[in-house]
Amino acid sequence: MNPYAGLVSRSAAYVLDALIVAVMAGVATLTFALVASVLGSEGRELARIVLSSFLVFLPTLMALYCSGFWILAGRTPGQFVFGLRVVNRDGRPPRLVAGLIRGLLLAYLPIVALWLLFDRRHQGLHDKLARTTVVRSSPREDEASGTSHIAPSSGADHGSRGRVPTT
């Protein structure tokens, strides 16, 4: 099995994360709107603004959610379900800036991720920029929450796809 996660696993994990974020944000927004509507006309106006801007801010929430989990744990809950892990060149979770760049690019320009289809290490353009890669983690790694030994490449290696031995 290829140690680098492919399009299906990553997309499924991202969709799962998006569902989690959407449900949480939806519940929070509705609660806020209900509370604000009790407060009077000003509260109702505020609730209207929050509800209308909900969809605009959803990608930002998604980016923050993903970045937070990547930086702190190296994986989001969706990636945990699918046994994936985001690692930097040292095999550790990405740093603050890399995590934010990755999260924002993926949330606002998800098409950049399609580059992973043609990349040897399944790195999308956001991975190239953040110098990260997504690897599969074994159940033992899941339990130990250790770091992976697969180091991604930082250079352009597209066009030479194939199985890559783990190093």
Binding site: M1, V8, R161
Partner: protein, 124 residues
């Protein structure tokens, strides 16, 4: 006289075979009836034993002991339930991961084919 005598014996033989077949069929029917009666009897016997005051008392005492044991050592039942739950979750997650990995491989093969075709077309 000779031929009718032979015929008579033949008829006797056929009659005997026919009666034996009937007896066999009767025996089969009797056996089925007996088996049904035995099952009914066993069921009623088991019910009588299970609902007897003595057995009820024994079960009650044993149940009390088991409940007492579980109360004293709840970790045993907790570990059992936890283990069962973990196994089930692990199995589901394993299946999901295996399915996703198979999907990844399929997409890999597809894109590899596309890129190879593209390369050969460019070369020619």
């Amino acid at each position: 006289m000779r031929i009718p005598g032979l015929l008579q014996w033949g008829d006797v033989a056929i009659g005997a075979i026919s009666r034996a077949a009937e007896a066999l069929a009767d025996q089969k029917e009797l056996a089925e009836r007996g088996a049904a009666s035995r099952t009914r009897l066993m069921d009623s016997l088991i019910t009588a034993i299970a609902t007897s005051p003595l057995v009820e008392r024994v079960v009650e005492i044993q149940l009390d002991r088991v409940l007492e044991l579980l109360e004293r050592e709840p970790e045993r039942i907790r570990a059992l339930v936890r283990g069962q739950r973990d196994n089930m979750v692990g199995e589901v997650v394993g299946r999901v991961r295996a399915g996703a990995a198979a999907g990844d491989d399929a997409v890999d093969r597809l894109t590899l084919r596309w890129t190879r075709n593209g390369n050969t077309e460019t070369a020619t």
